[in-house]
Structures are given as structure tokens and as C-alpha cells.
């Protein structure tokens, strides 16, 4: 069951790289939240009621509902529906994602980490790669935020790979981080409504 969920998570990563519509990005991020909750529920053996409530509110309420809701609102307000036209062609994306996936497998098997669940490790490495890939290749800051959210989800998965739950304080800090980044993006959207596509004011020339 867990492996199936992890593989599903991996598929969402591939889809996130290829799709051009922000609405789909947002929905996939929400779906990842649900997957992470299911994984936490099955994976963490000593899950107390308090922990369960916290993990549920973190993954289901925050990652699966609140963040996508805010992102959809920003999309509606700005009218930004698609990634920039001249971004990487889908074909190149597929090639780079495939390379990333193979690299993740190679790294995971080269390291031969006995204490790590290999499948989880591969997918979380792939998640880190995907997040970075989206941040680097996409110009719009909305995409950057999506990349950041993917990285946060990958780290969440990585903590499962190691078999350690993230300490609650770290969890709260990460949640604050995500919340503040969505909030800042909201301010961006409202203040610089006409052009939130790229960051070009500050430069050295």
C-alpha cells in the first residue's frame, strides 16, 4: 500500500514538470498533501492521537486544502494561467526529468544506505530534483513557489525514508515558511498585478 502511494507521489512529480497550467500545478500540490497524510498514517507506527491531529492538520488541512485554495485565489486575481510560453519545451522537460529519475536511482543504490527505505529515498531525491528543476527552468515566481512546495514535500517524504518523524518544532517552522511564502506571493500578486512573471528590478547593471 505504502509503495503504491510513494509511486503515485512520483507520478505527480512527473506530471508537475510537464504540465503548463497553474491550476493543475495547484491541484497536484493539494493531491500530494493527501498522499503524504496517507503515508504518515500508514508509516508512523507510534502515532499518538496528538501526533495524528497535528499531521492531519499539517497535511490535509494545510497542504491539501489551505495552500491550494490560496494559490487558486492568486491565479484568479492575477489571471496568470500558464507558465511562460518560451519556457522549456515539454520534450526537453521529459528528457531532463528522466535524467533526474535515473540519477536519483543511481544515487540511492550507490549509497547503499541500509537504514533508509530505498523507494522512499529515490522518490524524495527525485522530488528535490524536480523542485529545483522547476525553480531553475521557469521564469514566473508562481512556478518558483510551486518548486519550493515540491521541495518541502520531498523533505517530508525524506524524513519517512529515514524512519524519523520531523520534530514538531521543525514542522511548525516549515509550515510557517510555506504560509509566509504564499502570503508574500499574494502581496506580490496584488501590488504588482500586471507583471508577476519575473524579478528584474534588482540587478547590477
Amino acid at each position: 500500500m505504502n509503495i503504491l502511494l510513494v509511486i503515485l507521489f512520483g507520478i505527480t512529480l512527473i506530471y508537475l514538470c510537464i504540465t503548463e497550467r497553474f491550476r493543475i500545478h495547484t491541484k497536484l500540490i493539494g493531491f500530494q498533501g493527501i498522499l503524504l497524510f496517507a503515508l504518515a498514517f500508514w508509516e508512523l507506527e507510534a502515532l499518538t492521537v496528538g501526533n495524528l491531529i497535528f499531521v492531519a492538520s499539517e497535511t490535509l488541512i494545510f497542504k491539501a486544502i489551505a495552500v491550494p485554495f490560496l494559490l487558486l485565489k492568486i491565479i484568479k486575481k492575477t489571471g496568470e494561467e500558464r507558465v511562460f510560453k518560451n519556457d522549456f519545451h515539454e520534450l526537453y522537460s521529459v528528457v531532463f526529468i528522466s535524467i533526474g529519475f535515473v540519477l536519483s536511482i543511481l544515487i540511492a543504490y550507490t549509497m547503499k544506505l541500509q537504514v533508509i527505505n530505498t523507494t522512499y529515498f529515490i522518490i524524495s531525491l527525485f522530488g528535490l530534483y524536480t523542485g529545483m528543476y522547476i525553480i531553475i527552468t521557469h521564469r514566473k515566481i508562481f512556478s518558483h513557489l510551486i518548486g519550493f512546495l515540491i521541495i518541502e514535500n520531498a523533505v517530508f517524504l525524506l524524513s519517512f525514508a529515514i524512519g524519523q518523524e520531523m520534530p514538531m518544532l521543525i514542522n511548525i517552522a516549515v509550515l510557517l515558511d510555506i504560509f509566509a511564502s504564499v502570503l508574500l506571493l499574494g502581496i506580490f500578486a496584488m501590488r504588482l498585478k500586471q507583471n508577476i512573471s519575473d524579478l528584474t528590478i534588482l540587478k547590477d547593471e
Binding site: 523533505v155 529515514i162 524519523q164 515558511d177 509566509a180 504588482l192 524579478l199 547590477d204
Partner: protein, 489 residues
């Protein structure tokens, strides 16, 4: 319990200051009073920490010498930053005045926590808290560029802090079965002796790259440059000094912790040194390159911070007496750079611009400020009688002693470019006329004159740096020697 009291009072002060902005129209005096009381509270904490040196409090905090030394610098710069902040925000609305000071209190609180943290997770949490609080300060001017800088800073720091967390997860392998939150740096250090070097190397790479967003080192230096250039000058002073020190202490603690593994014959220490030197040299390279084409006075100083952090990283990597140089450099850089950024705020007031081409004739318009700027630049480029000359000289001596001539030549060459860039630009600001405008300074510039009393704090800071060149107090020497005593020779 004193530390807990400080944390509670910090929270209450910040909250009270924040609420003042919404509740009272004439709240500025109250905000000023609370902020000053908080600064004195912080000073009292520093005194308490020195009395209880090397003791642990609240399980997760320790008053070790490095933490308390940096906390003392923070306390000193808190007073000067608050003072210059009051001047900078003289005409600010009560609401924004209150938000600024609430965020400042939160930032000082977070930085204090990061300095005193006695565990890798607690450090991480406080470093993260500094990001959240400083963003409000970067965005203070509410301009498009400040919004962009705030976003970039927040975004890249968040990525950085996530990378650092991945490093901590890898480090978690070394303590399998134990709760990493419960472990102090010294306990982790003992456990890392038995750890697989590969995991330690991976952990260090992630932690180093992650925290380099805070220290402003290559490869994550870009965001601090933008943040410096648009923040209010007193905040630039903070970001460039005490906040960079947060990144330094986070990296230094992990570095010291893992250095002990050298005793069991692994090469992790050499690996960390190589990484530090590489990052330091690349930081110098980028700083010198961009300083040569800098058109914005504050950005130029921001690149100077990158250069100085590069020197600190190289010094750590070289080792030996360069360890001493690294700590001394961090201390003196904090004092010098803070003074320079305060001066930038004053020069903006007099000249009406941060742009290099539009600046000039500063000596005639504001002689006291010009003298401070000149003195500050002499200090920052490490020309005697600057105390930074001592730290850089020690670094070169260590390089010669270790036979690292390639690093020596590269460092000296790049520093030459930095000195050339800084000196020529500052001479232009001081003596030349603004380019393309022969007589730009009219009545508005006369009315914007700064009271020379406001420049006294800068002279005091530079005076301390110069004093160190001639005589290093025994207390400072002993403290630094004690900080580096456990590092491999």
C-alpha cells in the same frame, strides 16, 4: 530561568510594540521607550551570560564563549541600530514605525537564540525565525524593489534552510535511535566519531550550502546582496553583520563538531576545509568582479560583505592561526560594516541618492560624514591602522606556514581588485562632482544636512577597530583562543 525570562519579555515587548501601531495615533514615544528597554534587557542578558559562561540553561541553550562574544556584538549594535533607526524613521507613520520595531525586536530575539542554541535543531529553528522577522524589515519601504528583495530573500533563505534540514537528516544517521532534538553539539560530536564519513560529508555539504544563505557566502550570496541594497540602512547594517554572524556560527558549530572525526583517521576535516576554501575564493572572485562594476553605493558595500565572509571561510579552511584570524575578522567586520551602512544612510540624506554616478562632492557638503566614510573604508579594506589588517595578515601568515601559495596568490590578487574598486568609488563620492551634472546640489541638499552628532557612533565603532590594530585586550585574546582550542591544529 533568566534566559526564559528574556524570551518571554522579548515576546511581550514585540507584541506590545506591534499593538501600539494599531491602538494609538501618538504611539511613537511609547514604541521608542519599549524598544530601548528591550535593548537594555538584552545588555543585561549579555552580562548574565558572561557571568554564567559555559553553563547550560533550559537544556537547549549554552553560554559558550563564541555565542556570548557574538551576542555582545549584537547588543552593542542593537543600541546603534535603534538610534539610527529612530533618525531614519523620524517622519514615518505610527503604524509602520511600530511594525518596524516589532520586527526588529523579533529579529534580535531570534539572533540571540541562534547564538546561544546548543543543538543542531534548535539552531535551525532560530535561524528560520530570523528569516521570518527580517523579511518584514526588508519590505519596510513598501516599494517594488523592496518587495522583490523581500521575496527573493525569503524564498532563497527558505530553500537554503530546507537544504540545511536535509543535512541535519543525514546527520541524524549518526545518532540512529536517539532523538536529535535532545542532543547537544558536544554529544553529537562524540557520536559522529563512529559515523560513516560519507554521511557526514553529505550532511556538511547540505548544511554549509543551506546556511551560506545567512552567511552570505557563495553559492547562496545573491539574496543578501539584494536585501542590503533596498533595506533601510540600519537594517542593512544588521543584515550585513549580526545576521551574517548567525550563518557563521551555524556553520562553525557543525564544522567544529565534525572536525573531531579527524582523530579516527577519516578525511572529513580536509574535505570541509577544501569546501570552505573553494567557497571563500569564489566569494572573493564574485565580490571583486561585481565591485568593479558597481553603480549602487549600498550594493558595493554588500559585495564587500561577501568578500569579507569569503576571507572568513578561507581562514577557517586554512586552519592553524587562521582560526584565530577568522573569529577576529568576524568581530571587527561587524563593527566596521555596521558603521559604514549607518554612514550610507546619512550620505543618502545629504546627496539624495545611492547611485554612484549621481553622488559626489560629499566632503564639501558634509565633512564629518566624509571623514567617517573615509575612515570606514580604510578599516574595511584592512589598511593599517585597521584591526582587520591584523586578521588578514594572520591569514596570510597561516597560508605561508602551510605552504598554500596558490590560495595565497589568488586571495591577494582578488583583494587587490576589491581595494581598487572600493577606494576609487569612495574617492569619487568624496571629492568628484557627480557625473553629467556640474552643480547638482541646490537648496534641498542644504536643508538635508545631517547633524554631526549623529555620526559620533560611527567614529566610536571605527575607533574600536583601529584600537585592536595596536593592542588586543587580553580578555579578547583569551576568549578567541578558548573558542578555537578544540579545533585540530
Amino acid at each position: 530561568m533568566v534566559l526564559l525570562g528574556f524570551f518571554i519579555l522579548s515576546f511581550l515587548s514585540g507584541l506590545l510594540v506591534f499593538l501600539c501601531g494599531f491602538k494609538h495615533n501618538q504611539c511613537k514615544t511609547l514604541v521608542k521607550a519599549i524598544t530601548l528597554i528591550f535593548a537594555f534587557l538584552h545588555l543585561a542578558l549579555v552580562v548574565y551570560c558572561w557571568i554564567r559562561i559555559d553553563e547550560t540553561e533550559l537544556t537547549y541553550f549554552i553560554f559558550d564563549k563564541l555565542g556570548v562574544l557574538l551576542l555582545s556584538i549584537l547588543s552593542l549594535l542593537t543600541f546603534t541600530t535603534i538610534y539610527h533607526g529612530f533618525i531614519y524613521l523620524k517622519d514615518e507613520t505610527p503604524k509602520r514605525f511600530a511594525i518596524y520595531h516589532a520586527a526588529l525586536i523579533a529579529l534580535i530575539f531570534s539572533m540571540s537564540g541562534a547564538y546561544l542554541a546548543n543543538g543542531i535543531i534548535v539552531t535551525w529553528i532560530f535561524v528560520e525565525a530570523t528569516t521570518l522577522s527580517v523579511v518584514a524589515l526588508i519590505y519596510h519601504d513598501r516599494t517594488a524593489s523592496s518587495l522583490e528583495a523581500a521575496w527573493k530573500y525569503f524564498f532563497v533563505c527558505s530553500i537554503g534552510i530546507t537544504l540545511a534540514y536535509i543535512g541535519i537528516l543525514f546527520l541524524g544517521f549518526t545518532v540512529s535511535g536517539s532523538d536529535i532534538l535532545e542532543l547537544s553539539f558536544s554529544e553529537l560530536s562524540k557520536m559522529s566519531l563512529k559515523a560513516e564519513p560519507l554521511y557526514l560529508k553529505i550532511a556538511f555539504i547540505f548544511i554549509f550550502v543551506g546556511y551560506s544563505t545567512k552567511m552570505g557566502l557563495f553559492p547562496m550570496h545573491t539574496v543578501t546582496i539584494d536585501a542590503h541594497s533596498v533595506s533601510p540602512p540600519p537594517i542593512s547594517a544588521f543584515i550585513s553583520t549580526t545576521l551574517m554572524n548567525v550563518g557563521f556560527i551555524a556553520i562553525f558549530r557543525v564544522y567544529s563538531m565534525l572536525s573531531t572525526t579527524m582523530q579516527v583517521g577519516t578525511n572529513i576535516h580536509q574535505f570541509m576545509n577544501n569546501l570552505l576554501i573553494l567557497s571563500g575564493i569564489l566569494s572573493l572572485l564574485i565580490a571583486s568582479g561585481y565591485m568593479l562594476k558597481a553603480k549602487h553605493n549600498k550594493r558595493m558595500l554588500a559585495y564587500s560583505s561577501l568578500e569579507n565572509m569569503g576571507i572568513v571561510a578561507i581562514a577557517l579552511g586554512v586552519g592553524g592561526i587562521a582560526y584565530y584570524a577568522a573569529i577576529l575578522h568576524i568581530v571587527l567586520h561587524s563593527l566596521t560594516k555596521a558603521g559604514l551602512f549607518y554612514q550610507m544612510g546619512q550620505s543618502k540624506k545629504v546627496l539624495g541618492t545611492y547611485m554612484l554616478d549621481e553622488s559626489g562632492d560629499y566632503l564639501r557638503l558634509y565633512p564629518a560624514g566624509a571623514a567617517a566614510l573615509m575612515l570606514g573604508i580604510i578599516c574595511i579594506v584592512a589598511i593599517p591602522p585597521s584591526g582587520l589588517f591584523i586578521s588578514e595578515f594572520m591569514l596570510f601568515k597561516a597560508m605561508v606556514a602551510n605552504g598554500e601559495y596558490f590560495y595565497l596568490i589568488a586571495t591577494v590578487l582578488l583583494l587587490t581588485f576589491v581595494i581598487y574598486a572600493l577606494i576609487t568609488r569612495v574617492l569619487h563620492i568624496l571629492f568628484s562632482k557627480p557625473r553629467g551634472n556640474e552643480n547638482p546640489y541646490t537648496e534641498t541638499h542644504k536643508s538635508n544636512k545631517v547633524n554631526p552628532v549623529q555620526t559620533v557612533s560611527q567614529f566610536l565603532l571605527f575607533g574600536m577597530v583601529i584600537y585592536i590594530c595596536f593592542s588586543q585586550p587580553e580578555f579578547l585574546k583569551n576568549t578567541i583562543n578558548s573558542i578555537i582550542q578544540n579545533l585540530p591544529k
